[in-house]
Symmetry: D2
Subunit: 380 residues, 4 copies
């Protein structure tokens, strides 16, 4: 190209292309107005409100709060207005239909300080059912017995193993905590086995029937553990007390599994059994019974898929909030956007849904502060 003074038309046409008039419903990007009185040391709700027009994940976070507020405030018909066979799902204290909220979380969140936040939601009956991975069960119990500690992502594994310090990201769990857990749980497993054997002896092969509870299931064992731990700091305790089922189909995948493994030797030739068919029936039935269904999914993997799959049974959830760090490019379910679940019928096409791309620990405290904990609950 010569260095002539002629303005290049190709370039200027491309660069200075005219746009259509801006549609009236377009929303301007704007941030915090620092001239306002509430712009300093902001409260959760004000911060979240300001983030809605900030763009990127700030907007997604704000939307997540809006959707959570929708799911927790939805109020359907009164029980008296419904036919008897329609009287399924959840109702508020005044007898109106409310959203059945499925909350899922991965093990690490219970290891983290988020456990207090999750416990708060269960304590105050703000969710209807939980799906967790195995560590999300046992770490809640273990924390009643002994604390978890702050560590660092870069502590070398060999030195930690020598000291018996187990690392979870930037957290440390002394291995003695698991020894204590073993002491605590073995007598309970003994008792569970005893109950199983008694029931089976009474019922014979009918003990395996649908209406029998001779065979333990993960959710039933979790409920028992919540009863036994009997401590107000525990998620499982409140779940038991508030009859909020906790599902964990792979309950053997962790320390409880280690203990169950050991127990097979102790109990031999008898063996405690944990059936997962009853639990899939139970979680799917909750989904089908729900007047409306909402999902709050913290993390990826099994807990995400399990809630979505349950919501397929009702042709899709009405509300969905995903928070995780997974990406879709590897085709994993963990990284899939809500819109992938729409294709499967796991989220309704017209549902309100959002994915927040973040470590849950970074955003969930703020989300809860701006929604479920925006006001002090009126009662326990």
């Amino acid at each position: 190209m010569s260095n002539s003074g002629k303005l290049p038309g190709l370039a200027s046409d491309a660069v200075l292309k005219q746009s259509i008039p801006v549609p009236e419903d377009f929303e301007e990007v704007k941030g915090i107005d620092y001239s306002q009185d509430n712009a300093y040391n902001m409260r959760a709700k004000d911060l979240i409100a300001s983030m809605s027009t900030m763009g990127f994940q700030a907007s997604s976070l704000s939307k997540a709060c809006r959707i959570i507020d929708e799911m927790r405030s939805w109020k359907g018909k009164h029980k008296d207005e419904l036919e008897e066979h329609e009287q399924t799902g959840e109702f508020d204290d005044d007898g109106f239909q409310k959203t059945t909220i499925f909350m899922g979380y991965t093990s690490n969140l219970i290891s983290s300080g988020l456990r207090d936040t999750l416990r708060y939601l269960v304590q105050h009956k703000m969710v209807s059912a939980i799906v967790a991975s195995a560590g999300g069960i046992e770490e809640d119990l273990i924390k009643v017995l002994a604390p978890t500690y702050m560590g660092d992502f870069s502590l070398p594994g060999k030195g930690l193993r020598d000291q018996g310090m187990n690392r979870i990201g930037n957290l440390l769990v002394p291995n003695d905590n698991y020894c204590r857990f073993e002491e605590w749980i073995v007598p309970i497993l003994d008792k569970c086995l005893e109950e199983q054997q008694e029931a089976m002896k009474k019922l014979g092969s009918d003990g395996l029937n649908a209406d029998s509870d001779a065979i333990w299931t993960p959710s039933k064992l979790i409920d028992r553990l919540g009863k036994e731990i009997n401590d107000e700091s525990s998620v499982l305790y409140w779940a038991h007390k508030n009859k909020i089922p906790i599902f964990c189909p792979a309950l053997t995948d962790g320390s409880i599994g280690d203990m169950l493994f050991f127990h097979t030797f102790k109990a031999s030739p008898e063996q405690l059994r944990l059936d997962i068919v009853s639990d899939i029936r139970k979680v799917n039935s909750m989904s089908m019974a729900a007047s409306r269904a909402g999902m709050i999914i913290l993390g990826g993997g099994l807990i995400k898929h399990h809630i979505c799959n349950a919501c397929l049974m009702r042709n899709g959830a009405d509300y969905a909030v995903y928070i995780n760090t997974g990406q879709e490019f590897d085709g994993s379910d963990a990284g899939a956007r809500p819109d992938e679940a729409v294709s499967w019928g796991k989220i309704k096409a017209d549902a309100h849904s959002v994915k927040v791309y973040a470590d849950v620990s970074l955003v969930f405290p703020l989300i809860v502060a701006a929604t479920f904990a925006s006001e002090r609950p009126q009662s326990k």
Copy 2:
């Protein structure tokens, strides 16, 4: 700072700091030597060899292949040299101890074209046990009944649901495939229930004992499904034929779960049961019996944790290759580096281990080409 001509000592000392003499064992970074004859349209093994000194994930990929070659070529003592109680674990055709290789994969890999690669490994007995998520079981079976298709990550969910096309990343599965699966599996579930009921009637409450197989387990059902599908394209078929157990503690978390759910209505009041305690005993026992243990973990979530946890039973795996896209910053097990597993005793402190940060589909075909498939297997 004035514009004087004085060279700033602070800056030059910092920038031009002397380094120690380079230690003799330092390895120079270098790449492909394109003057060589094998530098064009390279073969997998040559490419992998060149990548070892490239740095970043290229080096990790190369190391992954070295570790896999170590685990598949390790040869211990001959059976005759061992006491009877030491004669556990895996042996090669000549009677020498070999590595017990646990391979884990997530559902999406079976949906993808990697299924052929995974099947190849199972067909040729190159792995000893498998841990998969539920989709990793059923999608293998469904693909025998009808194909999965190429799609796109950005296809809108609503339109797909209207057409009954389920999206998995950039893949599409027509929902009719699941209808066919239902037709195929229901009679099998009927038969399984029948067998359960017969055995229970015979054994009574002893049917729950450890040495009874009246109660189905996920691995036992998977083995049966592999037998029934009877098709050489299937991973499950070869696993059944080659007696390679496939573990999937949360087998109900997917289409098989849907079918089991439906089946509870069909079979009522009888109910098929799937016990997960027996399977944890089985997988842990394999780990304890192994002379050496290697892990090849493709993806994150349950399948990763489950194999690691099993290897804790033997105080750590000897070899570990992780391939996934998870990151450690969120404290997830999915994103944890091998060194975190060292702190738990799940990988030995002196084990050879590596994590390759990549979508499995991108690197595993190359890895297998350069290792397990570097030569044509001598027999089926």
Copy 3:
């Protein structure tokens, strides 16, 4: 393994390994105490305080705020206590040494609603120098001329191009905004060229000397643009007014570059010149003059490397806060942890530093609310 009742010693030794007594200085993981009065609709500072012992990125976020509070509150010697040649760097209104804070941000943050937050920091002289990418300059100016709008990550590109709507993540910028920008900036560039030519005519070849300002530099042009835009919503306006230099070595990499390109035709044979050598001298000199240096780096790429590199000139920054979504596994500077910069002498070995793995939009509003904006500034 036989189904005998013998507890496997290998497994129980591994699982129930004793740990060392917990060191006294270990900090327990804990979260929000919801029994407290300030646990509802929390304020930024309380939330951040609670997050410090939550683990994962919650702890990192809390640490980022602590470090920012340290850098903004550090108070050194009084000017009168210092030798004349020591009287360099920044001083507070009372004459005490304070931290020179280098803040870097990428273009997209100015496109987002974070612009108001960034402007707040500059308006109140809370930072000392800025490094931005080209879009971080021009989008600030363009927003004075016309707004940016909320969009969606999944809007198809073809339709948007037809309408002249440019997408930045989930934001939209009408192309007319760039047309307006062209109208606004061309007369300014004309004037700049005129000044360049006048000075050069006067100085001849001495016009290129260090103490001449005949040749424009990116920072000098940016300062002029800030003066010309003359609008209190603008970051550049306040940077000009508060004499806070903004560095952008690749200022041509964006719309300003397009305009400069067009201008070479308009002005031919004369040509405006932008020299980057003077600017590297200027930013490095600020680093060397600083009593203490702090870095707040929002995003990755050039802006991150440039600030780190400047801090090498003083043998390392004293404080460093990185916020970005990059990962180290690909060996990119964008993804490098602060500890990599320590190896280079860009961060001091004993500096306080942290990386928060997050989209900046998600956490920076909260960070600023809990630090720089925890109280209303006393004056503009």
Copy 4:
């Protein structure tokens, strides 16, 4: 829900929804056929071919190779068929139009073993222009003077700084390498300054005019450095020899910047100047002149944006291959998909484009093996 035997219609309708007949043009997912002779120790081209129907990033990788093959094999009109003003852009040895290929790479790739691959492409004139970050320039030169070594991502920064070992991901560069670089480059900078001053003295203020080359630009200095290094292992050497311009608008952002900074003191009051306006004109003009334009962008940040922005000048590139690990959720340009560039007119709506989500080091050796290096080049 009662435990009745009635199959739930809501669930079965949702789960067993019929799909439309599979369109004829749907492509089945399939992987490697291990019964084939070429399925062992595969060659790059065969592997890539097999990956096209594997899904996820395997398919994207395969597509990237197809697009690269398209851009390198496109053949337009013969020079003799074109009007004189149309005779712009690149032509092959036989006089036919060919694609102008812009390749961008980040600094770390030159530090890695990929440098040999990048050099191969430049040596054999397989690309037309390069955009690099500053480290991508200097590390190429420094490697001629002394090697880079393999290290580890987890080596602690403090110890490394004490030893003068700079870490780049899992690579190490002894700081002495930079000392050698300083010795090598200072005399060259002296010479450059001398030439600048001579030309300016001759031309006076006209020395700044468009047709003058008195003022240095980054691309001009890089070309000179390539000439001076005079070593066949160097990318810059071959770029100089083959007249392939290398653009680097922020050339001061790295070791060269440090040297230029030091040089301002040495040369005072004279000062070398590097103008970035001429370079934006040069790169944009190449884009406008191109018959077809292709982009191969390795990494994110400035190098990605700069090539895209240049292609806007021609209303969009015809081919685009992105390889990086960035994600779109944070609204960064680094993470933006090709479709975002379509909205800006930087990629044509009907262009062939793909993004491969991967560390470049993992896939680019394979990509080049299957495309540019699928056959031995006929001549140097």
